[in-house]
Amino acid sequence: MQKLKRLLMLALALSLLVGTMSLAAAEDLGDKPQLKFLVSHRTFDPNEDLAVKYMRELSGYDVVFEMLPQDNGDEKLMLELSAGTDFDIIELGTTMFGRLTDLGVLAPLDDALAKYGATLLAAEPKVLWDAAKNAAGEIVALPRQVGAPDYGHAKGTRGDGALYTKPEILEELKLEVPKTLDEFTAFLQAIKDAKGVAPLTLDRGTWMVWDIMTAFNLPHITWIEDENGMENILEKPAYREYIRYMASLYEKGLLDPDYPVNTGENRDQKFTTDGAYVGQYAFWQIPSLITGLTASNLSTDLVPFREPLADADGKYVLVNRYGVNKYYAVPRSSKNVDHVINYFDILARPENFMITHIGYEGVHYTVDENGDYWPIFPAFNDLNWANQFSSLQPVAVEYKQWQARARKTPEMAVAYDAVGDTLPNATFQIDRSSLCNSLPDVQANVQALNTLLYDFTLQAIVENKTTDKDFDDFTARYMAEGGQATKDAMNQWVAENSFDF
């Protein structure tokens, strides 16, 4: 304990030292101007947000947020830029970042980063800074990392979609949560025989059921990277098996007959009544089911599949996304490059980052004896959106703190913790494909290809078009319509950016 305390003191002293050092550097910047920050669409007004108020206080900059519309946001951004925008910071998705980099409208940040961005540079690994460079090798944006190769635990990856079932049916039919594919089929069949409805419900957008794909040793991503480079999921024979299995469920009436037209609301309606018994949910969707379950007099203690279905070797593969989820860039027209970097650097310092991310300890959150972060209500509600415009921070630190957000309600906390911190039989698939999103060939094709694959998969499941010829024909079409170009570009990138698996 004593040792820990000493370590903490040391860390504090160090951070203070770094803080004063960069303050000294910042002095020659002169008066802090107002910074105009253009962000993509949100349903709330960032200017009114508590976290943004903290950002203003801590940084000393008057940041004013403006927002793109939800539809045609990219076109609107191009319009703003072509009209000679006066924004100082723009928030960009990976695709837009690639387009604007090619057009050369983003200001190089290297000099400013060298002078004022020590904390920022230390916050992200080199590969991400490389992904923020233009063709000339200049850094033109601040990359915000998502995921990390060293996550090593399942929560961050499995929380987004695990299968859940209801306690009543387990008890009534004396069933156990299945662990393999055969058990799962038998499980669904038993419920169907007893209740006469299709037990598994999905919304039409869900074509990759993560916990089922694991039984085929498939990660739920389109581009799968291994020692040999990137391959499309279509090229994996296991994907055919997965689709055939899903088609068989649909044909046998074990999968919701409304699956191809189901909205999320239809799905929830079935799952919270006696219309269905198994569904795929993210932990943060659970609280919204509680009111429905209560209204139907059903137990609110939903049972998650603690482990995904295992493959023949008893293993299951989980996805660790690793990449950039967005960029902060400065348009060339802005005169405040140094100030922008200074602004983000101040907010990247751990003590500041914490406040803009989850508020003040003891007011908005507490840390329990296990080092887990918990929200305090109702104060934490004011920080619902707090992580939206955060600066950069090593992802492991950010993730740990973020967990306070994942424990927003008791039910959400239970669901979040239940999908498994450590899963003994998990293997991990690192997904770096998003780092390729700025490559021109990827950018040009990614959306059309995703739609193509989605349409095909849904149709194959519903119409049972699963012969080898169906697959071969479609794969050929997919590759011809941009799949091959994407694959080649990605593999070239992989060759240049080797990675130790």
Partner: protein, 294 residues
């Protein structure tokens, strides 16, 4: 009174039934939205709510009215609708009046100009550039100006003016009234039906206008209500895509429940809906006048 033939009876019955059916079809979705907005979240989620509230509550309305984005949008939309409609009516009535007079010098030329811009416009991007160079983007004027002068409405009012009896205007001139006086005291009071109609067009147009906000506004506090509403409903329809890394969980964690969305839709529709009954009588009158004159 003449007895109706079988064909007439059939025709009346058929029209009545189909009108009623049509009215119901139009009304039902709205009933559903209202029922959802005042039902408990649990009932909405389990699909028990159709056209009648289940588990009545008004909490969602209170919640929506407390949402700063909603109240901001409402404020913007109300100002835009009132100021815009008044301004538009002023422009339309005063522009249409001289154009309705055959004696006006250069009338043909001006009419041609108006019709030309009705058929051909500069397009979205030049418009945006113009507003930007005038410094109007991100101001409430950018929401008011685009809808302020509709050539179609001007022609509508002009045609109505032309049909007014010339002798009434002559009488006012004999009494010594100026052109402007004649317009205000004689022509406009006689044109109430068309003014009510065009006024309603403008008001509804402004209230429902969504695109000006998308094009000219980036400051969140200046977003019109319809844009907020549209985006709120859209946000709930995007489901997290397993395939994109940009999936930001916080976005999905804060999606508003369906009953809140329903309440927002209702509250955004109610004000303009309330305007109709007051203008209804002018419509009926307008039809009468037309038929008598014919």
């Amino acid at each position: 009174m003449k007895r109706k033939t079988r064909g007439e009876v059939f025709f009346i019955a058929f029209s009545t039934v189909s009108m009623i059916l049509f009215a119901i079809i139009t009304l039902l979705p709205f009933m559903n939205v209202i029922a959802k907005s005042v039902s408990s979240e649990g009932a909405v989620l389990t699909g028990q709510v159709n056209f009648w509230p289940v588990g009545f509550q008004l909490g969602t309305f209170r919640y929506v009215l407390d949402t700063v984005e909603f109240t901001n949008g409402l404020k913007v939309s109300v100002i835009v609708t009132i100021v815009g409609t008044i301004g538009a009516m002023f422009l339309t009535t005063t522009v249409a009046y001289p154009l309705s007079k055959p004696t006006m010098v250069g009338r043909k030329f001006f009419l041609l100009m108006f019709v030309f811009v009705m058929l051909f416009s500069g397009g979205m991007v030049p418009n945006y550039m113009l507003y930007r160079s005038l410094g109007l983007t991100n101001t409430i004027l950018a929401l008011i100006f685009p809808g302020m002068c509709s050539v179609f409405n001007i022609l509508l009012v002009k045609t109505f003016y032309e049909d007014l009896p010339e002798s009434v205007e002559e009488s006012s001139r004999i009494d010594g009234a100026s052109n402007f006086r004649t317009l205000i005291s004689v022509v406009i009071p006689m044109s109430m039906p068309v003014i009510a109609t065009v006024g309603l067009f403008y008001a509804v147009g402004y209230w429902n206008s969504y695109f000006a906000g998308v094009l000219y506004i980036t400051r969140p506090a200046l977003k019109p209500l319809q844009q907020y509403l549209y985006e709120l409903v859209q946000a709930s329809q995007v489901s997290p895509d397993a395939n994109t890394i940009t999936t930001d969980m916080t976005q999905y964690m804060n999606t508003s429940p369906e009953s809140v969305r329903a309440a927002t839709i209702f509250l955004a529709t109610a004000p303009i809906l309330a305007v109709y009954p007051f203008l209804q009588r002018y419509f009926v009158k307008g039809i009468n006048i037309g038929s008598v004159k014919g």
